[in-house]
Amino acid sequence: MATEKTVFDAWLAGAELPYDLLIPLLHEFSGADAVFSAWKKREEHPLFKAVPPACRKRMNETASEESLRGYRDLAQTHGIQSVTILEEAFPHCLRDLPDPPGVLFFRGNQQVLKAEKPAAMVGSRSASWNGLKAAERIAEGLSRAGVTVISGLALGIDAASHKGCLKGGSPTLAVMGGGLDKVYPPQNEGLMNDILKAGGLLISEYAPGVRPSSYHFPYRNRIISGLADAVILMEAKVRSGSMTTVGHALRQGKEVFAYPGDPVSPLSEANRLLLREGARYFTEAKDVLEDMNWLDNLSYVGQNIECSPKTVPDDPSERAVYLALEKGDLGFDELIAATGLTSSALMSTLTVMQIRKTVEILPGKRYQLVRK
């Protein structure tokens, strides 16, 4: 029975054994259930002797009927399934990692793993407004071309990327840093449900019920890059989790893309560093598709969603605002200086343009033209 297997997989994964012990154990006993019964019988096995004390304690504690029932309940309620590295269903791309996960847990549509064009999008949790908008736009463009966007379901860039992918119509994949029974961070519960509803997939190497810890996230990042063919950095600082993903990607020989972002903002310092060092430069989804040779969908090229013809408004004050903002975003006072309108006239004009979706407002009361 599938859930029974998942229960033993969960027991073994819950011990959080080091990979160089976990994988030999699985091979030796050919399955977590066999490991469990051997452990229960207190068999003397050289591999068991190597189990570190902390893991030994966890394995003993969770071997009780009661905690096994706990795993069973969680797996059943949330529809969590599992696969070990011994099985054929285990993603091939992850087998080649230097430190592959021994067990993976799934929630949702496992077909997503067979995606032909997997791309990971990573970036800061506290990204700039423009960074978030760009992530959503690019994810949407990629998704339209059939790319599966992989990310970590964190706040900020991760959430924006998942959202954009959902908008574009392709399923998206989230690699989590804890058990699949809980959403972390809780604000993303709605997003997680949307991902599952849209035929997406959640993955974790952590057993159900395991709470996310700070050290889980950088470690799970190797799975994010491992699953993807391209890793796209949207906005990050040099010392950040996103950069660990990029590091994994480079070691795994994946293609790395960096979004140019704001050339002076400290929020995109890692982007500048990577671009300097030869990461692939892109501003539109199309650039990524071209570089990755993913442009098989000719109708998409024809659509050319990225640039629409310029439409300068006819109304004189709207026109003045439009022309002033063409050079970049401006604050309210700068707009007054540039257009010569009175404050009240400018406010009216801005409202009309906001309704028409030609202008949008950024935090800090700055205005910019909406990118079509």
Partner: protein, 517 residues
């Protein structure tokens, strides 16, 4: 027998913002010399006997060895403060026959109050204005009061106001040897001429959007919230508001000065308040100091801001209880304070101007610095302000820091006086429109009245629906926008609200769209 003698003088006490007559009865008889004050005096009234004895002696009169009983009637009202020193001194002197009133002096008709110093000076007291107003209402004709309080009450008609600097002066006046020169009546209009506005709009550089928002807020009496990075000038903008609001009417000034008078907030020698009050309590303030209360049911900051501006800087840092307590005065314009010993009602109809940072570190959305806050921290910070309070704030505006080069620019911006003219014109239109209603400005429009008075042109209606749709605004935001649009139209002298007015009003709800969704 002339050993047991009575004397009576008249004074006033204060309860809440109203005065009440107090009859000071002095009975001097033989026995162990001393003075006893009865009639529910508090400690400062009881200490009066020592000040009175010293002041009498230092005014060149004798304190005869008599047993003196001073009764403050009505005996069931609590008396507090040092204002009974003067009537007690005059009563004691008369009771001891050290002072023989001239036939011209009518003790039944002259109200006395004032604190005495040991050397016989008359010192100013709190609450002179409510006392004199109540004295007039009781039908008394003249009042002897501390010279430093004279200007405060100089606008009151039909009272002979006699300012006294020393007890000796009062004694000579009562004996008829040297009359005190009555205080010249000051007209309220004359006082207004002297008003000096310290915070002028011309000193604000840039901030065009906030300037305009301030004007709209003043014109319609709307509450306002400014969100901006530290140092963007939120406080300075708020301080300009009293200067562009229409001058207080005499009634408003009397109401406000009364509250300030009993709270001891008036500087000695100052007259009626001609500039609207600006009250800016620190965010660590307690509910009681904000709303009023304490054992004596004192007025709080909301009442000190009556007819003026209550400025709450760092709004989310105020305690939740304090912010929630603001809702009643914001709604009713009055606070009722009930304590075991005292009940009082204080008017508290103020414009609320609040300021806050966009996030705990203050730099969210800043164009110059990077915010260090997590989205969770920002949400928690903003959640400290409850929806019901936000609902009472019509205008929400974002204020960004002004670049240094603009601060140094020498161009003078429009002055407060110029803005005040437009505000006054808009207020006049509103007064005319609402003359049959129980309210007088747009901010007070109920939903029902909103429908009656806010007629929009068809394209304005279309624009508002489009804005609600495009910016995901709530129904509540809809009525707030309509209210603000009414004020914008009034500033434009337009009876029908046009689309430009609505479009401008939408900009004052931008935070609805961004932060609180």
């Amino acid at each position: 027998m002339d050993y047991a003698l009575m004397a009576k003088t008249l004074s006033m006490g204060v309860a809440g913002v109203n005065g009440f007559p107090v009859h000071v009865e002095v009975f001097a008889t033989g026995g162990i010399p001393g003075m006893e004050i009865i009639g529910l005096p508090d400690a400062s009234v009881r200490e009066s006997r020592d000040r009175v004895s010293a002041a009498v002696i230092n005014s060149g009169r004798q304190m005869l060895p008599r047993r003196i009983t001073v009764n403050l009637a009505p005996a069931d009202m609590k008396k507090e403060g040092p204002s009974f020193d003067l009537p007690i001194a005059v009563g004691v002197l008369t009771g001891m026959r050290e002072l023989l009133p001239s036939p011209d002096y009518d003790p039944e008709d002259t109200v006395l109050f004032g604190e005495l110093s040991l050397d016989g000076q008359v010192r100013p007291i709190n609450g002179a204005l409510p006392m004199v107003i109540s004295a007039r209402e009781c039908g008394y004709k003249s009042v002897i009061l501390p010279a430093d309080n004279a200007r405060e009450v100089a606008c009151i008609e039909g009272m002979r106001i006699l300012p006294a600097s020393t007890l000796a002066q009062v004694i000579r006046h009562i004996e008829g040897t040297e009359e005190i020169v009555p205080q010249q009546q000051l007209s309220y209009g004359d006082l207004c001429q002297e008003r000096i506005i310290t915070a002028d709009m011309s000193r604000i550089r840039g901030q065009q959007a906030a300037r305009r928002a301030l004007e709209v807020a003043a014109a319609g009496g709307h509450n306002m919230l400014m969100i901006g990075v530290p140092g963007s000038g939120k406080t300075m903008l708020a301080r300009c508001l009293p200067g562009i609001l229409p001058p207080m009417t005499l009634e408003e000034s009397l109401e406000t000065t009364r509250i300030h008078s009993i709270s001891g907030r008036l500087a000695p020698g100052s007259g009626l308040m001609v500039i609207r009050p600006f009250s800016a309590p620190h965010h660590s303030t307690s509910v009681i100091s904000l709303i009023g209360g304490g054992p004596n049911a004192k007025p709080g900051e909301v009442s000190l801001a009556h007819n003026g501006v209550l400025f709450l800087d760092e709004l989310p840092e105020f305690s939740r209880a304090a912010l929630e307590a603001l809702r009643q005065p914001l709604e009713d314009g009055v606070v009722s304070i009930s304590r075991i010993r005292r009940q009082a009602q204080y008017q508290s109809s103020f414009m609320l101007v609040a300021a806050m940072n966009p996030c705990p570190c203050g730099y969210f959305g800043s164009s110059t610095r990077v915010c260090r806050c997590t989205p969770n921290e920002i949400r928690k910070y903003l959640d400290r302000i409850s929806g019901p309070l936000l609902d009472r704030i019509d205008l929400q505006i974002e204020v960004d820091a002004v670049p240094v080069k603009e601060i140094n620019a020498s161009v003078l911006c429009e002055s407060s006086a110029q803005v005040a003219l437009r505000v006054a014109a808009a207020r006049k239109i509103q007064q005319e429109r609402y003359r049959k209603e129980p309210f007088f400005c747009n901010a007070q429009l109920s939903n029902d009245a909103l429908r009656r008075y806010c007629t929009m042109s068809p394209d304005a209606e279309a624009l508002l629906s489009a804005a609600v749709e495009a910016m995901h605004l709530s129904m509540r935001a809809y009525s707030r926008i309509l209210k603000t649009a009414r004020t914008v139209a009034d500033l434009d002298h337009a009876e029908i609200i046009a689309s430009a007015h609505v479009a401008e009003a939408v900009q004052y709800r931008e935070l609805d769209q961004k932060y609180w969704r």
